[in-house]
């Protein structure tokens, strides 16, 4: 097994996941100024045609449940509102990584988008502020799996072989082969990139929920959203098993089975034939 510090250094040196670090700087600037106006955002996107194109692509991908194509950023702002467009920028910024997902693990993108949608719906139900931010954590919750595939191809193959042979959860194989989980690996990288703890914690601990940790509510939502999407079979998260729901997380989110069903039905409707990126 690779020594953990060596492992971490290699993860933190991951700069070749497309052009992300550059984009993360922009992302951080945006997260840091909550007072930023729609005009500033519009201006910012206008300056970056590649980003603008990605935002439009995401708007039209089915992720936001819109069925009439949107062709301009202004139109998107009017229709979706400023907050959503701000989140779209964050999401578009990470789109590069998401596109890598399916190259390494077919179906991971669908699983990630579905998890983001469920997380958003649960955050809405809980009336948490900034549900779009929680959705971004949902989108990126399995980032570590992409990092493993890209930075540790031999270990990735070993993990795949174990999952296929034993039909176990991918995390079990990760612990056996690497000694750490994709959750922790994702955390190392996102921390290194300077993303705020409120986005990183839910990703870092979605497979190992602890009620006492900071951002426990957000983490519980990502954990639950992940399990719900696995249970429903949206996409492919890297294995064909459903991990048990953590009771404390379940109690914290305070939803009923009727809520669970409502979220599924809403999503079934929205995801029917969409997610074409």
């Amino acid at each position: 097994m690779i020594d953990k510090s060596v492992l971490r250094a290699k993860v933190e040196g991951t700069t070749n996941i497309s052009t992300l670090p550059d984009v993360v700087i922009k992302l951080r600037r945006m997260m840091d100024s909550p007072s930023m106006s729609a005009a500033v955002v519009g201006n910012e996107i206008g300056k970056d045609q590649v980003l603008a194109a990605k935002v439009l692509r995401l708007v039209n991908s089915g992720f936001y449940g819109i069925r009439t194509p949107i062709t301009t950023i202004t139109q998107a702002m009017v229709l979706l509102g400023f907050d959503v467009v701000k989140t779209l920028i964050l999401s578009a910024s990470v789109l590069d990584i998401l596109e890598l997902m399916n190259r390494y693990l077919s179906g991971l993108w669908e699983h990630s988008v579905a998890t983001a949608r469920v997380a958003n719906a649960l955050a809405d139900r809980l009336k948490l502020p900034n549900p779009e931010e929680i959705a971004v954590s949902g989108l990126l919750h399995d980032l570590g799996k992409v990092v493993i595939a890209q930075r540790f191809p031999n270990e990735h193959r070993e993990i795949r072989a174990i999952v296929d042979a034993r039909n176990c959860l991918q995390v079990e194989a990760e612990l056996e082969v690497l000694g750490v989980t994709h959750s922790k690996i994702g955390m190392w990288l996102l921390k290194r990139w300077g993303l705020p703890a409120k986005l990183v914690y839910p990703i870092a601990y979605h497979t190992q929920f602890l009620a006492g940790r900071e951002f426990a509510d957000r983490t519980a939502i990502i954990h639950l959203a992940d399990v719900m999407c696995r249970a429903r079979g949206y996409g492919y998260p890297g294995d064909n098993r459903v991990p048990a729901i953590n009771r404390e997380a379940w109690n914290l989110v305070q939803i009923t089975m009727t809520d669970v069903q409502d979220v599924y039905l809403q999503l079934d409707h929205e995801l029917a034939g969409t997610l074409a990126l």
Partner: protein, 102 residues
Amino acid sequence: MKKVPITEVEPGQVVARPVAASSGMVMMQPGAVLTAEIIGRLLNLGVDTIWLEGAASDAKSIEVVLQELEQRFVGHEHDELMMEIKAVVASCIRQEATDGRD
């Protein structure tokens, strides 16, 4: 409706969802018919998959889907909460099968 890689679509097939180029520009609207020339152009524009009208050829039967659900939950038989979640998913699967055929 089915999702098909651009390399496998054929002239005459009908687009089921808007097709956007990698620039984000919407190139085709639902109902549009593909031609060899258009397919070539979409390829050049970086489109990699298209949603087409028609039944998915690899659509799984509801029995198979429910069986896969059972397998995903193996080991949770004594976890009441998980069994409730499974029941909800099963009912969603059945509902989808009744009203989701297009």
